[in-house]
């Protein structure tokens, strides 16, 4: 274990973070981002900055083992039980259930990583825009971008719905500042 870091958690007033979620280290959560209960965000070495409109479902694990800042863009969806250590993530990506992304992969934008895929290359690489990773051997192909608007619309409505519903059933957590 690395030396214990002081927790410094900044949560935007319009973000939804339940008390059941585990946050450790230096974490910034942007406006309209939804964290489900039982998700874990662990800034082990460097800080984690999450943009706006992201959704982190149950049992998601975000870890930053590097010294640099782990930057996550806007409108990303992390589905149940995925584990992401990627040092930078763009916008509108989907990481499906129980996928694993190693710290050697940087994700750009509009990428989709299928259920149960392992993305663990030994050398650093950047996942180009519109990459789809799928299947048991993590094959790749490119998405044409069709249905992008519909996807964005669904994502936005999903976040809006959760923003309204989650606080009714879960105790929320506030950042250190407020």
């Amino acid at each position: 274990m690395p030396p214990a870091m002081r927790d410094k958690i900044t949560i935007h007033s319009r973000a939804v973070v339940p008390q059941d979620a585990e946050l450790k280290g230096d974490i910034t959560i942007g406006a309209g981002t939804i964290v489900h209960p039982k998700a874990t965000i662990f800034a082990a070495a460097g800080p984690i900055v999450i943009g706006s409109g992201c959704i982190l479902e149950e049992a998601v694990i975000l870890v930053n083992r590097r010294k640099e800042v782990m930057r996550i863009g806007d409108d990303n969806l992390f589905e149940v039980g995925c584990r992401v250590e990627s040092p930078s993530i763009g916008n509108m990506n989907t990481i499906s259930a129980r996928a694993r992304v190693h710290h050697t992969v940087r994700i750009s934008s509009y990428c989709f990583i299928g259920a149960g895929c392992l993305l663990v290359p030994t050398e650093d690489e950047i996942l180009e825009e519109y990459t789809v990773v799928y299947g048991p051997s993590a094959e790749r192909r490119n998405w044409s971008g069709r249905g992008k608007l519909q996807e964005a619309d669904l994502r936005r409505k999903h976040a809006d719905y959760l923003k309204e519903m989650l606080p009714k059933f879960n105790r929320l957590r506030r950042g250190d500042g407020t």
Binding site: K38, E58, G81, R98, L154, K157, H158, Y161, M165, F169
Partner: protein
């Protein structure tokens, strides 16, 4: 096969209808969850009853039948979609005598009776599993799949591997009932 499976007395709460729910299971929105009776929810399971359909009154989010088992670390959450431009979560219905193995993720719309789901499975959104089907361990079933009755599904993506014998119903019924009777607190 009749050896009891013991648990610490304080760990499970037993209801009047014989449901056994672990204290260490995370159940949100319990008022929206229906358990049929003699159903076991193991520890560290996550059941999301809070993701309900919008609208007045209370909506059932997850209903489980009798003699079901939700394994350790299972995550059960209802599926979502937009329909006519409105975003909603949709209820999840699970029949009687259904066993779900440890660490599986279930987002199915309907699961029939006498279904067996293995360990570490991922059941996608709006999957329909018919009666007496069996899902092997580590299977990943993509969203919107229909699993026909009396078939064994396996692989990633899940596919039909073989047909199951017609005795499946009696076998699973006996097995699930036996599991419930074997599952008991330490005698003291």
């Amino acid at each position: 096969m009749n050896t009891p499976i013991y648990y610490q007395r304080g760990e499970y709460i037993e209801t009047d209808t014989g449901n056994k729910v672990s204290r260490r299971a995370a159940i949100s929105g319990p008022q929206n969850i229906i358990l049929g009776g003699k159903t076991i929810i193991s520890s560290n399971a996550i059941i999301r009853g809070d993701l309900r359909r919008t609208g007045p009154g209370h909506a059932v989010v997850i209903s489980l039948g009798r003699y079901c088992l939700v394994g350790e670390g299972c995550i059960m959450r209802p599926p979502y979609k937009t329909y006519r431009g409105v975003f909603n979560y949709y209820p999840m219905k699970i029949g009687d005598n259904v066993h779900i193995g440890a660490n599986s993720i279930v987002e199915a719309a309907t699961i029939g009776n006498y279904v067996e789901i293995g360990k570490n499975c991922i059941i996608g959104k709006f999957v329909i599993i018919k009666d007496c089907a069996k899902i092997a361990d580590d299977t990943i079933i993509p969203p919107n799949t229909v699993v026909p009755a009396l078939t064994l599904f396996a692989g990633n993506p899940g596919q039909i591997v073989e047909d199951l014998p017609e005795t499946m119903q009696e076998m699973v019924e006996a097995q699930t009932k036996q599991y419930y009777t074997r599952f008991q607190p330490y005698p003291n």
